[in-house]
């Protein structure tokens, strides 16, 4: 047993399988959260029918998409049409390979982690381009052209912002960046006498454009291009694009968290007396609070099946809370909790933008990218470099 676990391939393989198996489910729940949050912003309830308070909606959606007819439009380039969603999903998921979800839960800690992510996400654009091109539809074509231009443009400020952060952290390894922040006792966003806040903001803006989310959702601008590059996709292929979109949201938020917001570290990682309240009391209260909330909501349900599901969720929350009370387990999973919570905050931001902002126009988007973000990010790079050299 010991021998198997010590094999350098076994643990990463298990983690890989775990991510591939669990991420689709998680993406489904991110979608559910998005729908619920949007609904709340828009004075609606959101999904309420499948499961208690719509909790089983993602499963229903997944089954629906799998059972739908798979349509390949006449005149489409079949091979490319098949390839496009695969490329999108593959690249989005492979970025997880170097994303440290916690100090123990990561697949690989390569010394070029950031470069790998940038490279892989650049290939991800190909999925959109191929999909739009292969569909043999003008709307798809325009959507894919837009996404090509947009993602390529916004990769530049994104890259500059990352380079600035790498310069300050002094390493390209994703785990290394987290440990550098631990060592300095400061999140990347506030490093360098507060100068790092500029690249952080640039990164957050550019990441919205990079994932083609509102208000930069031009490649799939519904009111203009119907659905952009995936207009002609249906069924499971559409589900793959969907999965890729949410995977890239998660990944890009994960990068932001790792590089700028301390990764899987708890807030104030070097303040000893905060370890107890933040690492034990907080998760305990959080999960027991959610569990108690579920129990409270049980009163509103009549159907026994729905009550059973919600009771199960409550039980799960209590169980998780209990798990955090055990020191052995706690130290293994506390990093993951903080990471997911931080990513959750950023994902919430993504949803919030979507509920608030109108969409930019194509030329305005390009103006904003090239005339504002890129100069600002280059300026921030230079200023940070000088500050690093002179002041530190």
């Amino acid at each position: 047993m010991e021998e198997i676990l010590n094999n350098p391939y076994v643990v990463p393989l298990i983690f890989t399988l775990l991510i591939i198996a669990l991420f689709p489910l998680m993406a489904g729940y991110i979608v559910l959260i998005e729908r619920k949050v949007l609904a709340d912003l828009q004075v609606r309830l959101g999904p309420m029918r499948v499961g208690p308070y719509g909790l089983l909606q993602p499963l229903a959606d997944a089954f629906k998409l799998m059972l739908k007819e798979d349509i390949i439009p006449a005149g489409a380039d079949k091979a490319l049409f098949w390839l496009a969603p695969v490329v999108s999903t593959f690249t989005a998921l492979s970025a997880f390979a170097v994303l440290p979800l916690s100090d123990v839960f990561y697949i690989a800690d390569v010394n070029i982690g950031v470069l790998f992510i940038l490279a892989v996400s650049s290939i991800g654009v190909l999925g959109a381009i191929l999909g739009g091109w292969a569909s043999n539809s003008k709307y798809s074509l325009m959507g894919s052209l837009r996404s090509a231009a947009q993602m390529v443009s916004y990769e530049v400020p994104l890259g500059f912002a990352l380079v600035t952060a790498l310069m300050v952290a002094g390493t390209l390894s994703m785990q290394g960046i987290v440990y550098a922040q631990l060592e300095r006792g400061m999140w990347g966003a506030f490093e360098n006498f507060g100068l790092m806040i500029v690249p952080t903001v640039v990164f957050l803006i550019a990441s919205v454009a990079e994932t083609a989310r509102a208000p930069f959702d031009l490649p799939e601008a519904e009111s203009e291009l119907v659905a952009g590059f995936h207009t002609e996709y249906s069924g499971f292929r559409f589900a793959l694009f969907f999965l890729a979109e949410y995977a890239s949201i998660f990944v890009i938020s994960g990068i932001a968290v790792t590089v700028f917001f301390g990764g899987w570290l708890r807030p104030f990682p070097n303040v000893e007396w905060l370890a107890m309240p933040l690492n034990v009391a907080f998760p305990l209260l959080l999960f027991i609070g959610i569990g108690a909330g579920c129990v409270y909501l049980l009163r509103g349900l009549i159907l026994p099946e729905q009550r059973a599901v919600l009771a199960g969720v409550a039980g799960l929350c209590f169980l998780l809370g209990a798990a955090f009370a055990v020191p052995m387990v706690n130290e293994k999973i506390i990093g993951l909790l903080w990471f997911v919570l931080k990513v959750g905050v950023l994902v919430y931001l993504f949803i919030w933008y979507r509920g608030t902002f109108p969409r930019l126009r194509y030329d305005q988007l390009m103006d904003f990218g090239w005339k504002w973000l890129i100069p600002i990010s280059i300026g921030a790079l230079i200023v940070n470099a000088v500050a690093l050299l002179v002041l530190r």
């Binding site: 828009q42 509102a214 009111s223 902002f357 969409r359």
Partner: protein, 381 residues
């Protein structure tokens, strides 16, 4: 379809080193933002619009012909189905036209209730416009907020006449129903709520940089163009022409109410947005005045059970939410109209689409279709 694009000279495009091919893009009739079944054929150079052509008629029901085969009362409900978003205004215009033929006096109470309901409907129509317009530009939240307030209006309609959308609220000669017990209170309550809500929408959009960027300078139609194309309503007022039929040729007692006619100068999409928002506030003002002292008395003038206007013709136009809505009725003295012609504001305003779109981008076309505020039921009739 390329040869159906109008042959009028196109504005010079940018000098580029590429010999770009023109692309013809068919938008609609099945498209998320053509507000029903409008079909627009776009001639594009990249994303730049070189010309547009509207294809309409997918919702044509021959309403004007139906009018010749129905009695005057029977035709009443049909007008609601033209601009179904502002059914009350349609009904008012039709009733006024027939009443002019009949030369009948409408009791003051009926007039005041008509004004209140019509203005409520104007707000409902503008709310739907605001929601869908914002949705077209990518703001997905205002539409739900607008529908929340529109619901209150529809509930008032439902309480008054049983229907929410195609109300058929008015009858020739006055009203069919007396107002319900708390009608005045409902209206005043709504007015109190509505003013705050308009501020809420404005908070979301008016100073939003993206919104301003997407609407300022887009789809400009100046006063001279408006006159050339016969464009009326908020689009005309946004171009700086203070022309509102409620003031210019008052009907149904509008001369008794105090209200302002909001105007702007440039006539771009943003100005039209501002004008419509202000119009909602003015409508609230009118509703308050109308219901605060509803005159008592009969609700129907001296109209017989059988409506048989003397031979002759009449044209009556009113200020519908979308512009001048005119009814031209020719009577030969029988039970049916000899000819009935509707001047629909949506149809006439849509004519200016090509003028407004040329030289802009695809995304602007969607914004411009939204800002004209068309209802295809009325365009196609």
């Amino acid at each position: 379809m390329a040869d159906t694009i109008s042959t009028a000279p196109l504005p010079q495009t940018d000098e580029t080193f590429l010999d770009a091919n023109e692309m013809v893009l068919n938008m609609g009739p099945q498209h998320p933002s053509t507000h029903g079944v409008l079909r627009v054929i776009l001639k594009l150079d990249g994303e730049k619009v070189l010309g547009t052509e509207c294809v309409i008629g997918y919702l044509h029901r021959g309403v004007e012909k139906i009018a010749e085969n129905r009695t005057y009362q029977q035709f009443g409900p049909y007008v609601d189905r033209m601009d179904y978003v502002a059914a009350v205004s349609n009904g008012l215009g039709y009733c006024l036209a027939i009443e002019k033929l009949l030369d009948v006096e409408i009791p003051a109470r009926a007039q005041a209730v008509r004004v209140a309901l019509t203005e409520l409907n104007r707000i409902a129509s503008h709310l739907l416009w605001l929601g869908t317009h914002a949705l077209d530009i990518g703001a997905i939240t205002p539409v739900f907020l607008c529908f929340r307030e529109r619901e209150i209006i529809l509930q008032i309609f439902e309480k008054y006449c049983g229907a929410r959308l195609t109300t058929h609220a008015f009858r020739i000669g006055g009203l069919q129903y007396e107002t319900y017990d708390v009608f005045e209170k409902d209206c005043i309550d709504f007015c109190d709520v509505m003013l705050g809500k308009i501020d809420e929408y404005e908070e979301l959009l008016t100073t939003n940089r993206i919104w301003v960027g997407r609407t300022k300078g887009i789809g400009i139609l100046n006063a001279a163009d408006c006159k050339d194309y016969g464009v009326t309503g908020p689009v005309l007022r946004a171009a700086g022409v203070e022309w509102d039929l409620r003031r210019a040729q008052p009907y149904s007692g509008y001369e008794n109410y105090e209200f302002d006619i909001p105007t702007r100068e440039t006539g771009d999409t943003y100005d039209r947005y501002v004008v419509r928002m202000e119009e909602m506030r003015q409508s609230v003002r009118i509703i308050r005045q109308a219901v605060s002292d509803l005159p008592s008395g009969p609700i129907k003038g001296k109209v017989g059970k059988v409506i048989k206007p003397p031979p002759g013709e009449a044209y009556v136009s009113i200020e519908a939410p979308k512009g001048e809505l005119g009814y031209y009725v020719v009577s030969d003295g029988s039970l049916n109209a000899y000819r009935l012609r509707v001047r629909p504001p949506s149809f006439v305003n849509l004519g200016a689409l090509d003028k407004m779109c040329r030289g802009s981008l695809v995304a602007d076309v969607v914004a411009i279709i939204g800002t004209i505020d068309i209802v295809l039921g009325e365009v196609d009739r």
